[in-house]
Structure formats: C-alpha cells, structure tokens
Amino acid sequence: MQNPFSLEGKTILITGASSGIGKAVAQECAAAGATCIISARNEGRLSATLSSLDGEGHQYLLADLSQAGSIEAIVEQLPKLDGVVSCAGIVETKMLKFTEEDDLLRLFNTNAFSSIRLIRALVQQKKMKKEASIVIISSISGVRCGYLGGSIYGATKGALEGFVKATALELAPQKIRVNTITPGMVETSLLKDSEIDSELLEADKLKYPLKRYGNPEEVGYSAVYLLSDATKWMTGTSLLIDGGYTLN
C-alpha cells in the first residue's frame, strides 16, 4: 500500500518559490516525491531553488503573479496539476494612519489578489485534476491575532481565509480541496533582511510557548500534508502552526 503522506506521482505548482517559505515548500514537496513546477520573479534565486530540489523532472516558470494581466498566459503553459501551493507574499509594518492607497493596492495585489487570480485561472482553464489540493499560505496575523502596523497585511490574509471557504464549496464536486496554512513568525530572509532590531526579535521569540520562531521547512511539511492523500477529507479549513503563540 502506498504511503498516504507521499507525493509520489503528483505534479505540484509552487509560487513564490525563490526564497523563504516558498522555497522550503518546494524542497519538501520534492523530497516527498512530487514533480515541482516552481515560479517566482527572480530568475537567479529561482534557478538556485530548482537545483536544490531532490529528484528529476522539476521545472521553473519565471512570472510576476502580482500583474493581473499576465496570469492567464502563465497558466496556459501549465500541465494538469495535482496540487498548488501559493506562497507569494510580502510583509509591511505601517500603522493604519500612515498607509496610503499605494500600500493598500500593493499588499492586496501581492498577498491576496495574486493567489485568488491564480486559482481562478487554474479552475477556468481546468488545470486542476480531480482530487487535487489547493494550499494557500496565510498567517496567524489577520486571522487569529494582529501585530502593530499590520492592519493591511492582516486584511490581505483575512481575505484569503474568506476566499477559501466558498471556493472549497464550489470545487467540492470535483473532490478538489482548498485549505490554508496559518503560520506564526517563520525564520526567513524577510526577517533577516528586515530593519527589526535583533534583540527585539529574541525577546519576541520568548512570547512563543515553544520559545522559537518556525523554520521554513516546518511550513513545508504542513504543505506536504495538505497536498497528500492523507488529508483527502480536509477542505475549507486552516492548519495552525505557530509554536503555541495564539494560546496566550
């Protein structure tokens, strides 16, 4: 009997795969036996991700998914998929009273609309196989809690949570599942390159009952789980992985 947690024989699209969570998701999908199609904007980093993947047959697709017009053409190039993990996203810390129209549009485009448009195009073009799995990387921020300066970011993640509910209903007849992962803070270059003081980060980690931030590969394992046949009866929900942060 095949291991229900394996992705052997499945073709998975991973967006935002050039770094951080997206890269780790691609690596863990490949390690679980999937054939990966990875996409991002930065060619150098994307090809570095590609060469870090276990196994053969993976490919990459250079694409800026935050551009509304380009998504249909990108999706046309894709084969039929067993799964998609939408990881493209940006973080910004700006208090509501300082946000401008530009910030709203940029964050919603990159974090929410790009995922929604991608999944819409995949459905319209019938690129998702029967029993496929759709996974969106959301966040605890905007769903379970908030952070100072995260009103718009949280709104984009809350939008994704809402999107998943009705979409899961609509795709249920084809046994296509739609779920999100809501991680707490994850150690990625978004964090390493940020302007946040390292002492503040260390103090923040102590607010997590498990006393650390998540590792990108741990979000990757969650994605593999939701993509695998082990979760064939899970849809329209979100998987919380936050080191216990929201228990407090």
């Binding site: 810390t93 700006k94 208090m95 009273k97 300082f98 100072l148 300066g149 302007e195 946040i196 003081d197 390292s198 503040l200």
Partner: protein, 77 residues
Amino acid sequence: MDINEFIKDFADQFDETELEEFKPETDYREDLDEWSSLNGLAILNMIDKKYGVKITASEIKETKTIEDVFNLVKSKM
C-alpha cells in the same frame, strides 16, 4: 529642516501629551508618561512618510532625546 517643526511632527504621534512638554532635550522614553512602542512605530512611520528617511529600530534605540532623533533624520537626508 527645522527642529521646531520636527518636534511638532514628533508630538503629533501622541494623543494625550501637550505640545509644551516636547523639547529638544526631552528624553522621550523617560520623560513622557504616554510613551510606548506604539508611539515609537508611529514616529518611524512619520519620518518615513514626511521626511522620506528610513530609520531602523536599532538606530532609534541609540537615541535618547528628541534632538538626537532630529539629528539622526538630518544625517540621513
């Protein structure tokens, strides 16, 4: 760049404290009862928006008085 105008912008990020309490030599973390990390974030956002300068959390941590912050912003303009 004028320090009095900067002080007004700085004070604008507080809701309760009167403008008169903000002086160049004010040790803003110690002297202002209303001070919290929320004002800190608002001040960083204000400096970014109004003065077009990005200040990091570690840079602002090195400052003590409002004048220190003013000088920091000026040095980066």
